[in-house]
């Protein structure tokens, strides 16, 4: 890290790519779903308006709550920012790639989840407890599944460092044509749906108590706090899509810091994210939400797929 300018620049670019684009991704998904349902639907920019509105509103704090209630939104947001600095979007390696690897990223998500789940119990309302209970149970399968899925990719690179993985794969595309990879991808895709609270695991659009998971935990939030939580989860979606796209299709990602390469990188990234969000929307619209106790079976499938991917990978190598 000799010259500081590109360092800063690229880091900012990272943040921009995730932080600023995140609501847009959500917007696209929403819009697509509306179209599937033959509605015109709200504008793709609607999430931005929502956030702005939430920032304007005052915060109401339930009487039964502790400092955790006020602290968690900030923590959630800042940890997601840290993750945003670690996951390569446009450029690989990202400047701070040595700060943390895929394990760090997953555990940071876990940190956020941990605190959000605590908040669910903090307000003393039955819904919060319900939400955090379901969230933690589902996460207990999803998290390892995700780890395994990415480890099998990590094997190729011989490193758990995301940037290194992406770099390696982008330089050796043939490594992608690998059964282990396919398994891993399908595993990770299910994981993405679960982690970001999508149908068929969860339904972000509903507040129907029998179905909701993530929403139930943050039900008591309002105003600014809600904004940060929402924003963080939108960023989470964006990050997962970035992971999917860059780990399994690392085409076009910039490996050198020339304006040209970076430009291509940006375009490639936007394209891939766009496509993936369309896919997500399609899946959400064509599937029904599963009963809660059917969900683990689906997640187990993801877990097994990823495990098979890893074992397969270890045995046949690349």
């Amino acid at each position: 890290m000799t010259e500081i300018a590109p360092f800063i620049a690229v880091s900012l670019l990272q943040l921009v790519m995730i932080v600023i684009l995140a609501p847009l991704v959500t917007g696209i998904v929403k819009k697509t779903k509306a179209r599937f349902q033959r509605r015109r639907g709200a504008s793709v920019l609607q999430p931005y308006y929502d956030l702005a509105k939430l920032f304007k509103k005052e915060v109401v704090i339930p009487p039964v709550s502790s400092w955790l209630f006020r602290f968690t939104p900030y923590l959630a947001f800042s940890s997601t920012l840290v993750i945003a600095l670690l996951v390569p979007t446009v450029v690989a390696p990202v400047p701070l790639h040595w700060m943390g690897d895929i394990i760090t990223v997953i555990y940071l998500f876990a940190l956020v989840r941990f605190f959000v789940a605590l908040v669910g119990l903090d307000t003393g309302s039955a819904f919060g407890g319900l939400g955090s209970s379901r969230e933690m149970s589902i996460a207990s399968i999803v998290e390892p599944a995700m780890m395994l899925a990415i480890f099998s990719a990590a094997g190729t690179a011989g490193s758990t460092n995301l940037s290194v993985i992406v770099q390696k794969l982008s330089t050796t595309p043939e490594a992608m044509l690998n059964p282990a990879h396919l398994l891993a991808f399908s595993g990770l895709f299910i994981v993405t749906l679960a982690e970001t609270g999508r149908v068929p695991v969860d339904n972000p659009a509903t507040h129907l108590e029998l179905t909701m998971i993530h929403e139930a935990m943050i039900l008591e939030y309002s105003g600014r706090y809600l904004a940060f939580i929402e924003w963080a989860s939108q960023m989470k979606l964006a990050i997962f899509l970035a992971l999917l796209s860059n780990i399994f299709f690392p085409v076009g990602i910039a490996t050198v810091l020339t304006p040209w390469a970076v430009g291509i990188g940006v375009l490639a990234f936007l394209f891939k994210i766009g496509v993936l969000s369309l896919v997500v929307a399609a899946v959400e619209s064509t599937n029904a939400k599963l009963r809660l106790f059917r969900v683990p079976e689906l997640l187990m499938v993801a877990f097994i797929l990823s495990l098979l991917a890893l074992i397969l990978y270890f045995i046949i190598g690349s």
Binding site: K56, K57, E58, L68, L81, D101, F114, G124, A139, I311
Partner: protein
């Protein structure tokens, strides 16, 4: 420095004498106190203060000694002349001993400070002198275990440790459960020791000496299957103490039964003595030439322990039992490192083994700190509310702010979340396992991914469990009068917990120094090319791979805190109105929230219970009192049990068999003198036939 060894010897003597004084004086004092009734309590109080203070002093000395050993590198050796038939006793403190000595002293010191406050209520009900005697003997014997350089001395202190623990567990002996726990513990411990005796005697029969120095690297000189026999003896003998599944059954009984400061020591430190023993025997004695199935066996046990440990923990509503099961889980995680190290050593990859062992040892230290912290926190809760059942707790975060904060830190740490110390050791364990990818061996290629998967599963489940443990205990509304009447603990207790919190933070944020030491210690144990595998520079911690994978704990923590500024700022600039209003939120649209409306621990863990129902085999029975009208059911009792497979299918049948056969064999004492004469007659006849 020529006087360096003398100085270290002096420190050693201080350590030992401190504990001994702490053990011996209090009984005398409280005896005097009881002899003169009016000033009795004063004597007891003084005895308490003296006992725990001297324990603290010795612990500090112990820390100093371990630091000096770890920095200096060259071991401290003391030979004690004596007349015992099996030769002189020797004290040998090398880096491995030093590391564990440091762990003991760290936790021991904190717990001793904590006990100053905690033991007050014990003071009225119990014989303080006896308690302090056993407490100090317990600490002393643990120190003895790690510094022993001679098998006789080792067995001596090892059994002493079990003995002291037995009496400490049965402090509350009016409670049958605690008697049962103590009995179970002491029998298991004794069986374990029997195996250790066999192990040492095997080595003795080959070396003709009990001195550890003669055991070094003996593995290569032992014929045939003997090394494997020694290995198995050590694995089981030490495994009992470490509480690995399926030898764990004593652990969830004993930890809750003991006073919380003792359980903190047992769970934080004592079970690690088993790990110390394994490290000593596997790597120091049996040495580099070992079959690969050892490592695989250890890995299997490790995985079983960690997964089953955390799964059983999830079903527990007794705070201390829950923590006890987490000890089993963490021992499993530690053993993953040990097993991987064994595997890599056996396949000749000393470098990889180095990483794995560093991970294991670092997790030993980490678990000692945060599990000690958590048990102390549980102790404070128990002290304040007189209940261990979290279903009756809740809302303590308001009445016990400090305790709850510290417990939260502990919970985050044990869940392996950044930026705390649990994360570092789990990260290292993951790295060590993933590096197994480079080994061209089918067994490894199957075992390692499975271990990785189950380690990941364990971590996630642990997080879930601690959301339950912390959330139900400290958040929401109080669920009973116990919880309402809670109060914050005394300053010493808070101070002790705070100290451990600081340690957790330091180990998590700046792991550099300690890891550096552990590195060189592992190098000393496994040979030079295992040294310095986990390299550190500038807060950056990485393991060598074909490409580098790394984590920068310090920077990470810094950013996590620092970036909070951004949302704060965003809140300032984006949102105009900053004021907050405390008012009823939606809350299911109810007028007010009743404690009964809150989610229970049972409810919380239900999804997991259903997901893993095959393992739990949960049975629940609902009793509805029928005398009332079908519409008002005043008392409905719901009981839920999850059975322990090992008790049901192994231990209980074995015990039944033993007792039944005993009753059968007892028949030979018929009470008829004729049959007794017949025994003599038959013996005589048989012998006459034998002699011809």
């Amino acid at each position: 420095m020529s006087d360096w060894p003398q100085l270290r010897l002096l420190i050693l003597i201080v350590t030992v004498t401190g504990y001994s004084l702490g053990a011996l004086l209090p009984p005398i004092l409280s005896a005097i106190g009881r002899s003169r009734l009016h000033s009795g309590p004063a004597f007891d109080t003084f005895a308490r203060n003296f006992g725990f203070t001297s324990a603290l002093v010795s612990s500090l000395a112990g820390c100093a000694l371990s630091i000096s050993i770890l920095l200096a590198g060259e071991p401290l050796h003391v030979e004690i002349q004596n007349t015992l038939p099996l030769g002189g006793m020797a004290i040998h403190v090398d880096m491995l001993s030093g590391f564990f000595l440091g762990t003991i002293s760290l936790v021991g010191g904190a717990v001793s400070v904590y006990s100053l406050g905690y033991a007050t209520e014990l003071l009225q009900r119990r014989n303080m002198g006896f308690f302090l005697f056993m407490y100090n003997v317990f600490l002393l014997s643990m120190v003895g275990v790690v510094i022993a350089g001679h098998a006789v001395l080792f067995l001596f202190v090892w059994e002493g440790m079990s003995l002291a623990t037995y009496f400490l567990i049965s402090v509350e002996h009016e409670d049958p459960a605690s008697r049962r726990a103590a009995f179970l513990y002491v029998v298991m411990a004794h069986v374990g020791t029997a195996l250790l005796v066999v192990m040492f005697v095997i080595l003795y029969s080959f070396t003709g000496s009990f001195d550890f120095a003669t055991f070094k690297g003996i593995g290569s000189r032992l014929p045939g299957v003997v090394p494997s026999v020694v290995f198995l003896c050590a694995l089981i003998g030490f495994g009992v103490k470490a509480g690995i599944v399926p030898l764990h059954i004593w652990l969830p009984e004993a930890h809750p039964a003991a006073p919380s400061n003792v359980s903190a020591l047992m769970s934080g430190v004592m079970i690690k003595m088993g790990i110390y023993g394994m490290a000593r025997v596997f790597f120091d004695f049996l040495g580099p030439t070992i079959p690969s199935w050892w490592g695989l066996l250890v890995l299997i046990l490790a995985v079983t322990s960690s997964v089953l440990g955390v799964l059983y923990a999830l079903m527990e509503h007794d705070l201390k039992r829950l923590l006890a099961f987490h000890s089993i889980e963490n021992i499993g995680i530690i053993l993953m490192g040990v097993g991987a190290a064994l595997l890599f050593v056996s396949l000749g990859h000393a470098a990889l083994a180095g990483i794995a062992l560093v991970a294991a040892l670092y997790h030993v230290l980490n678990h000692a700190t945060f599990k000690g912290l958590l048990f102390l926190g549980a102790g404070s809760v128990l002290h304040a509310t007189h209940t261990r059942n979290i279903e009756n707790l809740g809302g303590l975060i308001r009445t016990m702010p400090w305790t709850s904060f510290f417990f939260l830190i502990g919970a985050v740490a044990i869940s392996g979340l950044p930026p705390l110390n649990g994360f570092i050791s789990e990260w290292l364990t993951f790295q060590a396992l993933l590096l197994g990818f480079h080994i061209p061996d089918l067994a490894v290629k199957i075992a390692v991914p499975l271990t990785v998967a189950l380690l990941a599963l364990t971590g996630a489940l642990a997080a879930a469990c601690f959301v339950k443990a912390f959330g139900i205990t400290f958040l929401g509304l109080p669920r009973s009068q116990h919880a309402e009447g809670a109060h914050e603990s005394s300053p010493t207790m808070i101070g002790a917990m705070g100290f451990l919190v600081i340690i957790c933070l330091v180990l998590g944020v700046v792991p550099g120094p300690v890891l550096f030491v552990v590195n060189s210690l592992v190098g000393a144990l496994l040979g030079t090319n295992a040294a310095g595998q986990v390299s550190l520079n500038g807060g950056l911690l990485f393991v060598p791979t074909s490409a580098l994978s790394s984590v920068a704990p310090t920077l990470l923590a810094g950013l996590l805190i620092g970036l909070i500024a951004i949302p704060v700022a965003a809140g300032l600039f984006l949102g105009g109105r900053m004021q907050k209003r405390v008012a009823m939120t939606w809350a299911c649209g109810l007028q007010r929230i009743e404690p009964q409306m809150q989610y229970t621990a049972t409810g919380f863990s239900k999804p997991i219970r259903m997901i893993f129902s095959t393992i739990y085999r949960a049975t629940h029975e609902i009793e509805i009192s029928e005398e009332s009208s079908p519409y008002f059911r005043p008392n409905i009792s719901y009981e839920l049990k999850t059975e322990s497979v090992f008790l049901k299918y192994f231990y209980d049948p074995a015990l039944t068999l033993l007792v039944a056969s005993a009753h059968l064999l007892r028949r030979i004492q018929t009470g008829r003198i004729q049959s007794y004469l017949a025994y003599i007659f038959i013996t005589l006849v048989l012998l006459l036939l034998f002699a011809r």
